[in-house]
Assembly symmetry: C3
């Protein structure tokens, strides 16, 4: 597969520092060979801005795709932290629940969710191909456009 | 338990061909003895039509129940594919997340979700009884009425 | 850690009787060392009343926090039942999906979800710290304000 860190760099992505939750939960929990990550919103763009708002009202599908890709950037940072910095321990991206902040009429959730799914595959190859649901939420914390939770399988 | 394929046939159900996603995700991922299936919408009715729309607006609870049962038909097809065609490998239907396309006022999500839960039990007996959540979404891909994701446990 | 039952009593909490679902699903399913609990709503308050309604419309964030804490009370009752009455078998609260009944404008889902997350930590200490998503739903069964599903890890 080549080196995952190199692959991320070649995609022009700088991983953000992983921030810790400010409440009584944690970024990830490992049980057996599975790691459950807490739901993630978009990382900042390189210029420090970050997408915000509701699909079907504030953002179009293309902008939603970009937001989901930025969730993927946060996800890579969190995954790296969860495996102690060694991406080679990631055996499989198992499952994504891609939750899109949607009006009652917006129906292109899969096209938005692809932003994160594509990045996982660009970075991890076939091991990045996951089971997935992509669905519309009434709203999300801080009015972020997309929140995604992920389960990954790690080697021992 | 008797033969699962026979039981499905006696229910008058013909399993659809399992269609592959057209994006960077897969129908199911196995990790250990668990299989995570991607979220599923309703299968076509025998006449080729398929339920569409929002509960509390376009469809009533009874129509939602039918839609959830048709999701179950798709689920049976996907499960069969995931276990290489041998339903006897299904040890347990572990968990359903039943997501109903709902207006802000619709509150009968469990009665809708029962359409799939009932079918799982009719087909798999006690092994089909699962943990479940049934909740209301702002919308779903393509305005489908119900999307359900499932985790199943398989024997080695 | 001290005795979990004592800790619950010191918090002034009386666990409700765990009620069985009236449909074709079950309160919890164990697979390996994981137990998946069905989605839970709030327990009754000591006076028999129970919070109901939508955040951003019927209830404010503080009232939502109380409702999520009451979901946690139900969760403790269900967990106890699932481990045969012995809380010492709970190794870790792995993952919460905290689903808040929200208007299209409500965005304080984490502050609501903390009601349950705080209780899990008060009762189980560091073993109660979980991965989590906190998100907004179009509606929930019976118009309850919060529904939470949880995965716990148990020792053999």
């Amino acid at each position: 597969m080549g080196n995952i860190d190199d692959r991320i760099a070649k995609l022009g992505i700088t991983l953000p520092d992983a921030q810790s939750p400010v409440a009584n939960y944690v970024p990830s929990v490992r049980t057996g060979n599975l790691i459950y990550l807490s739901g993630l919103g978009p990382a900042n763009r390189p210029d420090g801005s970050v997408p915000n708002g509701k699909l079907g009202q504030d953002l179009n599908t293309e902008q939603g795709y970009e937001a989901a890709r930025l969730v993927g950037v946060n996800m890579l940072a969190r995954i790296k932290e969860a495996v102690g910095g060694d991406f080679n321990k990631v055996k499989r991206v198992v499952k994504l629940l891609s939750m899109v902040n949607s009006t009652a009429d917006f129906t292109d959730h899969p096209q938005v969710a692809n932003g994160c799914s594509d990045l996982m595959t660009e970075v991890f190859g076939d091991n990045g191909k996951h089971a997935r649901s992509a669905v519309g939420m009434a709203n999300l914390p801080g009015n972020i456009p997309v929140e995604i939770e992920v389960i990954i399988e790690v080697s021992d």
